[in-house]
Amino acid sequence: MRAGIERQLALLDFTVASLARRKARNLGLLAVFALLVFLLASVTLFTRALRQEAAAVLAGTPEVILQRMVAGRHELVPPGYRERLGRIRGVQKVEGRLWGYYFDPVIRANYTFMVTDPAPRDGTIAIGPALARLRGLAEGGTLAFRSYAGELRAFRVAAVLPQPTELASADLVLVSEKDFRAFFAYPEGCFTDLAFSVANPQEARTVAAKLVRDLPDARAILREDSLRAYASLFDWREGLVLAMLAGALLAFGILAWDKASGLSAEERREIGILKAIGWETGDILRMKAWEGVLLCLTAFLLGYVAAYAHVFHGGAGLLEPVLKGWAVLYPRFALTPVLDGLDLLTLLLLTCVPYTAAVLVPTWRAATTDPDSVMRS
């Protein structure tokens, strides 16, 4: 056992020295390999972090949202509807929500008006950080909107929502219920939709199905479903980008094949001499395997660390537009670093397998060269 380990260590030592003798060639390959890992790792790290953010935001949303439908369109919830809901077993904390969109022609963006509990005092609003940034507003400033009745209404900005909530609050305008109803001419007693929780979260789906049976003009949206939709969306985007990068992977495989088969005269001589002094084909193969392992792991480490820095410290500038989506009022947010075992394993296999597959045949060809034919040439 010990002898076996020492043998491998000696081989490793020899391999490192042999790699160092052909610095330029190996560094070139290492750089290309590391760049490939960097690209792929940036995509996976970035989507994993986005997925995490989405899950964190959704964790704070209501468990079930009930919307009333008229001819397939979302309608206001009339008075009395809320009481019918409360009679169904398992339904808890029913809350009528008031929210709506307002298009601001100044910056050509949609705001989300919302009534929260606790709400700002009448005549004042709290606004999201992205909105404050775009309109150049701070606490104490005034913002005017044209109401649905046609007159201009000015609100005093009582607060700018804190930066850490930006992902969820970028375009938010929080108002009091009285102001909301007056501004949008919203009918008294009506709500935009109803939110509630279920006593046993595992029964949410059953309760929702029961509700829709009792209230045929309603539809229920489960938090679980939104989570699933986001997961599919990110998976799909990530898969798409990776599928596009498959071309790069193939190109890299060809490069590795080419590099491995274009043995320099010096290298051929080296192998010839090794065989002449008693190395076997198996030993040469093992040495080449160590060469591959060293190159793969170094490139992987370099690429992965660079990708980590790119995504979590450099704001993922290269990928942002594709993976994040785009909007006028786009939130600024810092991603929480996540390292995931599954992603790491996937990436390691995705990059090292094509490389190994590409260099196996050329390596074997080199290892089986006859010493006499090499030395004679």
Binding site: L242, L342, T346, L349, L350, L360
Partner: protein
């Protein structure tokens, strides 16, 4: 089909494996027909050189299969959020046709590959390549169809997967009275299963350790029995102690972080030990081959030690679970 990096990687691995084996098939047939060590012809020299290449290639493919099983299960566990009703890998595997088929196929391929690699290693020790024909016949006749079947199963499974498919969770599949193999496993009487679990594991450790010099077949048999008994035991009673719940029989949930990934501590040594035990058995028919008779016993002993250590580790982990658990079943 769900386009996902892990799915793409799994398909890449399987396709690469089949491609390599297919590329090796004509060569293997040539070896079977034309191999003649006594000849010094150009063809024979070429064949001898190529055996290095193809042995390395197949070893590479088989190492990938090992990583593939791990990735398959990890990914199935992670994808569970996309299917209503799924709570762990079971729901995902159940969400499409052949999910479990693909997993079982991969496990079978892993053990076949393990045995093939053992033979391959033994062959490389003998100076006259005594197993070269058998080795390549097994590769074309057994490994290639198995790898192709796994690829087909994986492709059918992944291409048929749709997000939002309603599926059933491990709680309903591995339930007493649910029927089918999982339900039957869960419903097995705990007493006899516990006896079989500890008995088979102890027997496998004993066979691998005490008969390491000549009991290759017995070690192989005991390893296979211990593998089956361990899987049945995990589903029937050990899972209850892991989850500290009298009715949760899932053999996959224990891979999750909530349960400290204890499943890996059971499955990894179990798979390695079984592969080593089966490898010992695979060597036995060739222990009298003249050029191998000096190497086979030593190789057998080494594999038997790995098998004994692996099964012992499974046994200790299982005892540790029982000892640490707060569940009391009366």
């Amino acid at each position: 089909m769900i386009l996902q990096p892990a799915v793409l990687t799994l398909l890449l691995i399987s396709a690469l494996g089949v491609a390599v084996l297919l590329a090796a098939a004509p060569f293997a047939l040539q070896v079977i027909r034309r191999w003649d060590l006594a000849s010094g012809s150009e063809l024979q020299l070429r064949l001898e050189r190529r055996t290095y290449l193809f042995s390395t290639l197949v070893a590479f493919v088989m190492a990938l299969q090992l990583a593939g099983i791990l990735l398959f299960v990890l990914n199935a566990d992670r994808m569970a959020v996309q299917f209503p009703g799924a709570m762990c890998a079971v729901g995902t595997l159940n969400a499409g046709r052949f999910g479990f088929g693909a997993l079982l196929g991969q496990v079978a391929l892993f053990f076949l590959a393990g045995m093939w690699l053992t033979l391959n290693h033994a062959d490389s020790l003998g100076r006259d390549y005594p197993l070269v024909r058998i080795k390549y016949a097994l590769m074309v006749g057994l490994l290639l169809p198995a790898a192709a079947a796994v690829l087909a199963l994986q492709w059918t499974y992944f291409s048929g997967l749709r997000a939002q498919t309603l599926t059933s969770c491990c709680g309903s599949l591995f339930a007493e009275g649910a029927g089918g193999l999982p339900g039957d496993l869960a419903a097995l009487p705990p007493g006899p299963v516990r006896a079989a679990f500890f008995g088979c594991l102890a027997l496998a450790v004993a066979a691998a350790w005490f008969l390491r010099r000549r009991g290759g077949y017995l070690t192989g048999l005991a390893s296979a029995a211990a593998f089956a008994a361990t899987l049945a035991g995990i589903t029937s009673f050990l899972s209850l102690y892991v989850y500290e719940h009298p009715h949760h029989h899932c053999p996959f949930c224990m891979l999750k972080a909530e349960f400290h990934h204890v499943g890996y501590a059971l499955y990894v040594p179990l798979f390695l030990a079984t592969a080593a035990g089966l490898g010992t058995a695979a060597l036995q028919p060739f222990r009298r081959v003249p050029t191998l008779s000096a190497f086979v016993p030593a190789l057998s002993v080494r594999l038997s030690r790995v098998a004994a250590a692996g099964f012992l580790l499974v046994l200790l982990v299982a005892l540790g679970i029982l000892w640490r658990s707060h569940l009391i079943l009366s």
